[in-house]
Symmetry: C2
């Protein structure tokens, strides 16, 4: 399986921008696309992750795993994001031990959502 | 299919609470569980949706649909949340037209994540 790293390409990250100015989300997407993605991670641009006030935002998902969303990301965070994505892809359920998470993933979580197949007792 | 409405039961919603005080997330879960859920919506408590600074949080997910996460919810929002969950369950892809979304869903989005099966051109 391959983990998908979604990157919001339209995010203004709360900034007031000229109409033709590059958006922070597009700059983040460019930085992540230009870097060497881990083999088992696919970087996919999405036109809106609806995290507008907390962007730029990325999300990690893979069937059978918890989905994670992170906000307040900048192009400088690209190495951390890709390292975190690699750890996520290597995990069995999306739950990466705290100490193995990049600092930005520890600090900038916006949300996580359980996988569809989660046994209900594991959610409580 | 049934949509799942996840409710973070441990959320403190940014409040400083006594150790044994009921948590805002637990109160929200109780309000949602006490109400009549739509037939095609299952309310499931989760111990953490990692939206701690923007809680109380709920998430809507269903295979093949976009996943949505909403924050800053209170027990008073339970009717809006359940109405929004019903509209989500009735949709084919999780994308409910803006005017049909409850006001709180329009205002309090934390994030959304594409479904696994999304054609890549639809994400751009």
């Amino acid at each position: 399986m391959t983990a998908t790293l979604y990157v919001c390409t339209t995010c203004r990250a709360g900034e007031v921008l000229e109409e033709d100015a590059p958006r922070p989300g597009a700059l983040l997407h460019a930085a992540l696309s230009a870097a060497d993605a881990p083999d088992d991670v696919e970087v996919v641009g999405v036109s809106c992750l609806s995290a507008c006030s907390q962007g730029a935002a990325v999300a990690l998902s893979e069937p059978g795993k918890w989905t994670y969303v992170y906000g307040r990301m900048t192009p400088a965070d690209a190495p951390d994001i890709l390292a975190g994505a690699a750890a996520y892809a290597a995990s069995t359920d999306g739950l990466v031990p705290w100490r193995e998470r990049p600092v930005q993933f520890r600090k900038q979580s916006l949300a996580r959502v359980p996988p569809f197949q989660m046994p209900l007792e594991a959610a409580e």
